[in-house]
Amino acid sequence: MLQEKAAELVQAFRQGDVQAFNRLVGLYQDKIYNLAFGYVKDQEEAKDLTQDIFVTIYRSLPALKDPAKFSSWLYQTAINHCRNRYRRLQRRGFFDSLSIDEEETPLQLSTGESLERNIEQQETTDILLSELAKMPETEKEILILRDLQGLSYEEISTTLAIPLGTVKSKLNRARLSLRDRIRHLL
């Protein structure tokens, strides 16, 4: 399992194996990059943000008490970084110049499907992600963590430091809110 593997690598890193850190990055870089992109909606910013998150992880890793909780701890750190970066960019008017409405997710063509269908799907996906980006922070976060990152209720509870019951109710509200925003697409 991913978390067990991560715990082993954390232990190895603490014992001086620097390659273990590289492998940890390899395990989580896609997830964290996607998380970052969900906030900043810009590839270069997302890359830079992801790197900063892992730099913090590298520096703080010796202080992590329980290696088995690496994943939750990584997400907590990442969420804090994302929130801070998002607010800083917002203050600078970054999103105004970027125009979130028109920002496109890089087109990733699936094999065996027509270009036309891919473009149509991509447009729907862009609208969906654009609406997601406009949602209030707490709703956006919980949708990203659950439905884009695939975290369990328990992991979300730990990451956001909220009770399990609150996770469930907030998630339902967030999903209903997203539905109301884009029901016209269906």
Binding site: K5, K47, V55, Q121, G150
Partner: protein
């Protein structure tokens, strides 16, 4: 339950978190309230679209960039490490990975139906990193699925109406749903399935939701996990099917031209992934269940082109 209460349970219902009592009340309400039925359908369609968003692959140069930042800030130096020391072994690993990719590409080129996708290869390599081989145990769950579509099969453990009810599917756009094949079940007056059949699905996908008012219900085949093996020919799939049967001591059924089903015991999914890796097969897998659920329940897995 009134309509307002029903809406507060959409997530619990969709994530299969409702207890038996609330599940009955919930479904009872849906049978009699077309408004809530439509609202749930819309809710689930949007959720499915969200979950189908293709994840991005982290850009190249991410890791060197991290170490550059660390070096700039003096962190690597404090630990007595130099940039070169960190990356010397990494380059060997990267070289080995590149070789693996090259061999994989060469192996599949003659059967490939479409251009190579770097994301696919990355996915496969990532799995090599994350999944340790484990030995498959003897089967404890049972499955009786006839290999010919349209003929009767039954499985009370996995293929029950409640396991499928309420899941809206996006016809052929969902990689998770083998939309061409539908489960058809005869149910008794209390709504329990008596028997199930697998047969080609209808062209009319407006019937994707369970039709409670009918005695005959139907829904697309929706395995717990769908593994898509990339760049594989039909012959290759047939060979893989044989390997899976021989290597894993697993029950496989329902071999069709473009997919087969495997029944795994709890925790065996990693062993199946390892088998694909051993055969150098790039793949991606999709499941809406979380890791705990995957580890704790028997899984119906579809392996498809």
């Amino acid at each position: 339950m009134d309509c307002r209460q029903i809406q507060t349970l959409f997530t619990a219902y969709t994530d299969q978190e409702l207890d038996q009592r609330n599940l009955l009340l919930f479904e009872q309400h849906l049978r009699s309230c077309s408004h809530c039925f439509e609202e749930l359908e819309c809710f689930q369609k949007i959720l499915l679209r969200l979950r189908m968003v293709e994840p991005l692959t982290a850009p190249s140069g991410l890791l060197p960039g991290i170490h550059e930042k660390l070096a700039r800030r003096g962190i690597g130096y404090r630990l007595g490490l130099t940039f070169k020391k960190i990356f010397a072994p990494l380059s060997l690993t990267a070289g080995a990975s590149a070789m693996t990719v090259a061999v994989t590409i060469a192996f599949f080129t003659h059967t490939s139906k479409s251009p190579e996708s770097p994301a696919v290869i990355n996915d496969s390599l990532a799995r090599q990193e994350t999944r340790a081989p484990s030995s498959p145990a003897a089967p404890v769950a049972s499955m009786n699925i006839d290999p010919n579509p349209g003929r009767r099969f039954s499985d009370q453990l996995l293929l029950t109406p409640s396991a499928f009810s309420g899941r809206a599917l996006e016809e052929d756009r969902s990689p998770h749903s083998l939309y061409k094949y539908w489960l058809h079940g005869d149910q008794n007056s209390s709504g329990n399935a008596l028997s199930w059949h697998l047969k080609p699905g209808p062209a009319d996908t407006s019937l994707l939701m369970p039709q409670w008012h009918r005695q005959q219900i139907g829904m697309p085949l929706m395995p717990d996990v769908t593994i898509r093996v990339h760049h594989l020919s039909h012959e290759g799939l047939e060979n893989l099917h044989r390997h899976v049967q021989e290597a894993g001591n697993w029950q496989t059924r329902c071999y069709h031209h473009d997919f087969f089903l495997v029944l795994l015991n709890p925790g065996e999914i990693d062993a199946l992934y390892s088998l694909l890796q051993q055969h150098r097969m790039p793949f991606s897998s999709l499941s809406f269940h979380d890791a705990d659920r995957l580890a704790q329940k028997p899984l119906l897995v579809a392996v498809r082109l």
